[in-house]
Amino acid sequence: MIRAQGLTKRYDDFVAVDGIDFAVERGESFGILGPNGAGKSTTMRMLGATLQRTSGDLMILGRDPAHEGPTIRAHLGVVPQQDNLDTELTVTENLYTYGRYFGLPKSYLMPRIDELLAFAQLEDKRSAKVDALSGGMKRRLTIARGLVNEPSILLLDEPTTGLDPQARHVLWDRLFRLKETGVTLVITTHYMDEAEQLCERLVVMDGGRIVAEGAPAALIREHSTREVVEVRFGSDRNAEVAAQLGDIGERLEVLPDRILIYTDAGEADLQRIVARGFMPVTSLVRRASLEDVFLRLTGRTLADE
C-alpha cells in the first residue's frame, strides 16, 4: 500500500525527515512512534500527498504523490492532529460537505453518513453544531469524516492527544473495530501505550530517522528485559543509591525522578534492594514497554521533549 525509500524532507538547512525506508502492507495497522519533533507529522503529510518530498522514492497505492496527488487523495482518509471541522455547521453537514469535496453524490452520502454516525457513536448528535461537542466527540467526528470516501488507507496523526483517558479508550475501541474491517491504518503517536494497543508493527523515529522497526512485542524482547523495577528515593538521592545497586538486574538507568532496573525477575530484585536497607519512597514492578525501548535506543524518555 505504501513504500518509502530514502524519503527525505528538508527545509532550508533543517532536515525534518532524513532518508527513511519503510513499507506498509494491505490491512496492516502501522505505527510511527516518536517524541514531538521526530518528523512523524512531516512524514504523515508526505503520505497524505499534501507535502512534497525533497528526495527519495514514495509510492502510495502504486502511485507517486508528486504526480498523482488528487487521485491518491481520493482513496485516502486523513485525520489531522487538530480537528479542522466547520464549527458553524452541524455534525451531519460536516460529513456531507466533506463527502461533496470528493464529488460523492447525495444518494451515496445519505446512507453512508448514517453508518458513520453509528460508527462514531454520534447518532444523538447528528443535528448538533460542532461547537457543542466534547473533545472526544469532535475527534470521533473527524475520524468519521476521514472515512466518508471509504478510503483504502486511513492516516491518523496523534489521534488521542489532548483527550481524557475515558475518551481515549472509546477512540481506541473504534479504531480497533475499524482495523477488523480491513482498513489499513497508519498512526503516529508519542504515547507508547497507544502504539502497543493499536499497532501490529511500528517504526520508532527520532531526529528524522528510523531507529527501530518491528512488532511492539518483538521490539520489547529485542531491546529490553521482560520486567522493569521502578524505584524512587527522591531526586537528590537517586544517583547515590543507584551507584550501590549496579549488580542488581541486567541493566540500570537513572532518570532525574527515578531509577529503572531492567530484569527478568522484578519482584525478587525489589526484595534484594530492600534487603540491603534501601527503602524506596515508591516502588513498582511492571512489564517492559515501548517506552523502555525508546529509552534504550535514544537515551531519552518520550516525555522528555
Partner: protein, 261 residues
C-alpha cells in the same frame, strides 16, 4: 480542465451552504444598506443639492449617486465574501487544510471561494438595484447593464483581495484594517458622492486607482448617459480585468503553496 472546474464548484457549494447559515444577516444587510443610504444621502442630501444647484452632472442627485452606491455594494460584498472565509480557512478553523486533504487542489479551493463570492455579489447587487429602481434612482431598463458592470467590478476586486488575504499570516486586525483603510477611503474618494473633478488634484489619484471609481464611471455612462469616451470605458474595463486576472493567478498559486508546505 473540466475536472478542475468541477472541484471549484464543490468548494462553492460548501461556501453557499455556509452562507445559508448567515442568510438572515445577508438579506437584512442587502436590503437595509441601500434603503438607509437612499433615504439619508439620496433623498436628504439630494434635496439640498437639487434645490441648491439643480442636480449634478445634469441629472437629479439621486440618479447621479445610484450607480456609485451599486458598485460600492458589489465591491464591499465581494470583499467580505472572500476575506472572511480565507482568513477562517487558513487561520481560524483551518478548513482549507481539510479540503486540501481530499482530492481538491489549492487552486480549486481558491476558485471555489471566488465563485461563491460571485454569486453573493450577484444577489447583493440585484437586491440593491431593485431598491434603487423602487426609489426611482435608475431606469427599469438598466437592470442588465448596471448589475453586470457592478458585479464585474465586485468580482475583479474580490479576486485581488483573495490573493491578499491568502498572504495574511496572522489575522491581527487585518479585516478591520482593510475595512477602515481601504474600503472606507475608497468609498469616500472615488467620486461616489460628488464628481471626482471637484476634489483637489492632490487627492484625485485615489479615484484613478480605485476600482470603485472605474466601476462608477462605467455605471453612470450606462445609467444616465454620462459622457465617457470609448477609450475611457475600455481603459476602465481593462483596469478592472487586470486586477481580477492578477488576483486569480496569485491566489491560485498562493493557496496551493500555503496548503502544501
Amino acid at each position: 480542465m473540466r475536472g478542475s472546474w468541477r472541484g471549484a464548484t464543490r468548494v462553492a457549494e460548501y461556501r453557499l451552504r455556509n452562507m445559508w447559515k448567515w442568510r438572515n444577516s445577508i438579506i437584512a444587510f442587502g436590503l437595509g444598506n441601500p434603503v438607509l443610504y437612499l433615504a439619508s444621502v439620496g433623498l436628504g442630501v439630494g434635496l439640498l443639492v437639487d434645490t441648491g444647484s439643480g442636480g449634478v452632472d445634469g441629472v437629479p442627485y439621486l440618479v447621479f449617486l445610484a450607480p456609485a452606491l451599486l458598485a460600492a455594494a458589489a465591491i464591499q460584498g465581494g470583499q467580505d465574501e472572500v476575506t472572511f472565509p480565507t482568513i477562517a480557512g487558513f487561520i481560524w478553523e483551518k478548513l482549507f487544510f481539510a479540503m486540501r486533504a481530499t482530492s481538491l487542489t489549492g487552486g480549486q479551493i481558491a476558485d471555489g471561494v471566488l465563485l461563491a463570492a460571485a454569486l453573493r455579489v450577484v444577489f447583493t447587487t440585484a437586491v440593491y438595484w431593485l431598491v434603487l429602481a423602487l426609489f426611482g434612482a435608475v431606469e427599469w431598463t438598466s437592470a442588465l447593464p448596471l448589475i453586470t458592470v457592478s458585479t464585474y467590478a465586485g468580482l475583479c476586486w474580490a479576486a485581488l483581495m483573495l490573493a491578499v488575504a491568502a498572504n495574511v499570516k496572522n489575522e491581527d486586525g487585518f479585516l478591520a484594517f482593510t475595512w477602515r483603510l481601504v474600503i472606507m477611503p475608497m468609498f469616500l474618494f472615488s467620486g461616489t458622492f460628488f464628481p471626482l473633478s471637484t476634489l483637489p488634484l492632490a487627492l484625485q489619484w485615489i479615484g484613478w486607482i480605485s476600482p470603485l471609481w472605474h466601476a462608477t464611471q462605467l455605471g453612470r455612462w450606462l445609467s444616465y448617459g454620462m459622457p465617457l469616451e470609448p477609450w475611457q470605458a475600455a481603459l476602465s474595463v481593462a483596469y478592472l480585468l487586470a486586477m481580477g486576472v492578477v488576483g486569480v493567478v496569485v491566489a491560485r498559486r498562493r493557496f496551493e503553496r500555503r496548503l502544501t508546505s
